[in-house]
Symmetry: C2
Subunit: 154 residues, 2 copies
Amino acid sequence: MLKRDYAGQNCSIARALELIGERWSLLIVRDCLRGYGRFDQFQASLGIASNVLSNRLERLVEVGIIERVRYQQRPDRYEYRLTEMGLELRVALIALMHWGDRHLAPAGAPVLVEHAGCGGEVTTRLACSECGAVLEPADIQTRPGPGHRAPAHA
Amino acid sequence: MLKRDYAGQNCSIARALELIGERWSLLIVRDCLRGYGRFDQFQASLGIASNVLSNRLERLVEVGIIERVRYQQRPDRYEYRLTEMGLELRVALIALMHWGDRHLAPAGAPVLVEHAGCGGEVTTRLACSECGAVLEPADIQTRPGPGHRAPAHA
C-alpha cells in the first residue's frame, strides 16, 4: 500500500497532503462545499466503490475535516458536514479550480463562483495583510518561520 | 497500479488533480517555486528514489507544468523550470500551505511568505473582481459555467 505520510518534510503543504492527498479525498471535500452530505450523494457524484468511499470519509472524520452528524431519529440517519477546519480549505480548492479552468477546460469553466452581492466573478489572489496591495509573484518572498528546522534530507 | 484519472468528473478540480494529484508531484512544484531545478536538488529535498522522481518529473513535463532546460554546454546539463502554467499554481499552493500552517503546525509556520515591498504577511483570499470586496463564505455562490454538462453519475 502506498504510504500517505511524507517523512522528513517539515512543510505545511506536505502535512496538508497527508490529510487530503489521497485519491478522491479532495473531491469529497468539494462535494461537501457543494452541499452534499449523505453517503448516497457522494456515491452518485463520485461513482466509486462504497468501501473506498467509507474509507475516505472515515479518514476525513479522523483528521477533523468533516464530522458525522445525526440529522434524523427513528430511524437514525447521519450525514457528513465540513468542520470549520474543513471549510477553510475552500480558498485552496477554489484556487485549484480556477487554475484548472484556465488550463484544462477547453469548453469553459464547468462551474462559476460569483459574489452573491454583485454577481462579480470571484478571484483568488495573494494580498498583503499590512498594506492591502494585491501581489504578483515578483512582489513576494519567503523566509524561515517559527516552526523552521533544518531539513532532514539536505 | 492506482488510476490517476477521474473518469466522469466534469470538474476543474478533478482535472487539476489528474496532473498534480500523484504522491510527490505537488512537492516537486513547491520545490520549483523555492528555486530548485536540478535533479539532485529535488532528491536532497524529497529523499525519494530516483526512479520515482524521474517518473514524476517526466509526467510534469508531459502535462506542461515544468520544462527541461539546458543551462550548461559541454557537458550538457539540464534543469527543470516551471512554465507559466506551473507558476500559476502558486496561489493554490500558498493557500494550502496557509491552511496547513493554521491547523497542522503546532510549532508555528515552517515558512513565512511576505510582501517584499513592506514586509507584511501575504494572505490568500477570495475577492470580487467587480466591486473589489474581500469575500467570506456566505458572500459567494456558484452557478453552472459555459463548460457545464449533466454529471455522468447523477
